[in-house]
Symmetry: C2
Subunit: 338 residues, 2 copies
DNA sequence: AACGGTTCCGGGAACGGTTCCGGCAACGGT
DNA sequence: ACCGTTGCCGGAACCGTTCCCGGAACCGTT
């Protein structure tokens, strides 16, 4: 890589002081228009690019954000990232990618990496499992701006952006109820996820509203995967073969479940109606096309980033929780489907 | 954020010069064991973290890599990223995320961002469309270490890691041929992608090997999406209703195509066999489960990053092209399926 | 006792910017 | 003619680290 020009080279070539060049590239006043033009000219000629590193060193602002993510196979989180990245970029910030995919225990080391690089803030785009989170709490106490999506840190007050999962679970279940179903199975995600608890809560409320007693045999845990949904469905049919409807807490599991259902000869939606959650692209093209709760995933990422930037601007901003709405998308896997 | 300790604070507290502290944190010799211990002690007490920024400024090494990506909805590229991130991390590097998802024209500005931040190298995890690529060529000439996946820059010699798409297309088609099919349709991706050209070339060779004449009416372009596969299939059935087999150049289009086929009453694989490409998770759980060419996507990311790091270590390393093999996965959408 | 070689450590400059502060010329008002 | 502003610019210090070099103390030889 050829040696790059510095601010001093530009200054020398333009016959001014580095100081004045600095004023020009930062659009500060107190430079004669003519001088300004000349300096820009020299900058272009020399192909000068200010060093973001040197700048950050003195200004204490890196315009870097950390992005903690855990599962790139999960459509939800990848879409959150897309939204987040777009919003960051719009504001001159960018993300450092930290994927704890393979090993959640790497997280503390990642956070160390991020603080060493003096990121201005950190966005958590990973689920809240009940792993050790003292290192996160410690960040909060250090005053590092922090926003999370779908991750609630017990005991700490922090800014969270998420989908209203209680409402979403309610709507999904209510839809099945309103189609006349009374025996409604549910495949959840892992028990320690907040979203699972919330969607399950929505399910329960919808049943309660309809005067249907909650039956624990109608509920099986899955792991969000196709495979998991497939197996959970087999389990569910064993436990309560009489169900006429299924609420799967994500689309992958719904699709896996539908395969299991077909294998038992059940027709969808005639014999059993299915509602998913997410609205992944495959949902519209699986067989049969899946009725599901669409989540505004990119929006979650955008809003989260916006709040993070606010927090960076003014660290005294009050922490808050923002919930976005999921919306029911009608397709043919369910009673009143197209 | 509370004021953080600097190397001078540590030095003062330990009664040594900053220089000596520097030697300790960098594990250099020429420090008495006792002094070393004392300094480590102080470092822990003060919670001192060396500033990566200041370090990078003098050492000219940022340990940052740029990651140019275009399509987070594409399973292939997200998996490449996962592999790349893991490999980078293993070597003490990390990625700055640059998604040109919304607007490919942003790319030059992204590259400017990356060079301003003095990244040590850049990984392109985006397809090679025939957009303007002068800015990329300019990077090459500046001597910035560069590795691409699935992206070939015409006229430039650079390190590329990709899947052997010619061979993959050949195998997919050959499999259909060996099941006895003679009229084999193909849904490709966008015409300007290198991988599309290569897979199509493989298709053509397989036909040729079997003595089947190539019929342009058997080929339709898609856009990689479910929707695109669905529409392409309708088009294909119009053009050549007599086909008994389909090679879709990715799984999404294959799944979309299967929906279109079912809508015409065709059974899979009895009436028409289908082979996809990628082996996305949905492939095993769609209906019917999809026979497809599995790509070692994470491996592509890992290898690409490894080569990039090599290039950074020694910029004189010869540029090369690495092709990984795709492998046929048998499922039930095809003749000899399970 | 003088000498060369280690071992351990520190002073000062540098990396590439920004900030603080102050200087100088021109200008308008009295 | 004098004085306070205003516009424009530069000198020096600093951000937090590392690198180059030199120097003191100690060791064993001759």
């Amino acid at each position: 890589m050829q040696k790059t020009a510095t601010i001093r080279d530009v200054a020398a070539a333009a016959g001014v002081s580095p100081q004045t060049v600095s004023r020009v590239i930062n659009n500060r006043p107190d430079v004669a228009p003519q001088t300004r033009r000349r300096i820009w000219q020299v900058i272009r000629e020399l192909g000068y690019q200010p060093s973001a590193l040197a700048r950050a060193l003195v200004s204490k602002r890196t315009y870097a954000l950390g992005l903690i993510t855990a599962d790139f196979s999960d459509y939800f989180f990848t879409q959150v990232i897309v939204g987040a990245e777009a919003e960051a970029r719009r504001n001159g910030y960018f993300f450092i990618l930290c994927s704890t995919e393979r090993n959640p225990a790497d997280e503390p080391e990642y956070l160390r990496l991020l603080t060493e690089r003096q990121v201005d803030g950190i966005l958590f785009a990973r689920p809240s499992t009940e792993q050790d989170s003292r290192h996160v709490a410690s960040l909060v106490h250090q005053g590092v701006p922090l926003v999370t999506t779908a991750y609630h840190l017990p005991g700490e007050q922090l800014t969270v952006v998420d989908v209203d999962n209680v409402e979403g679970g309610f709507q999904a279940t209510h839809h099945l109820v309103s189609c006349g179903h009374r025996r409604i199975g549910m495949i959840t995600g892992p028990a320690d996820w907040k979203s699972v608890k919330d969607r399950s809560e929505g399910y329960r409320r919808a049943l309660e509203t309809a005067g249907i007693p909650f039956d624990p045999r109608c509920v099986v845990h899955g792991d969000w995967s196709y495979e998991g949904g497939y197996r959970a469905m087999q389990q569910l049919l064993l436990q309560s073969p009489e169900i006429t409807a299924l609420f799967a807490q994500n689309d992958c599991m719904a699709i896996g479940a539908m395969l299991a259902l077909r294998e038992t000869g059940r027709r969808i939606p005639e014999d059993i109606a299915v509602v998913g959650f997410d609205d992944i692209p495959a949902a519209a093209y699986c067989y049969p096309p899946l009725t599901t709760m669409r989540q505004p995933m990119q929006e979650v990422g955008r809003v989260a980033t916006r709040l993070l930037l606010e927090l960076i601007q003014d660290p005294s901003t009050e922490r808050k929780e923002v919930l976005l709405k999921a919306e029911l998308v009608h397709r043919s896997s369910c009673c009143s489907g197209a």
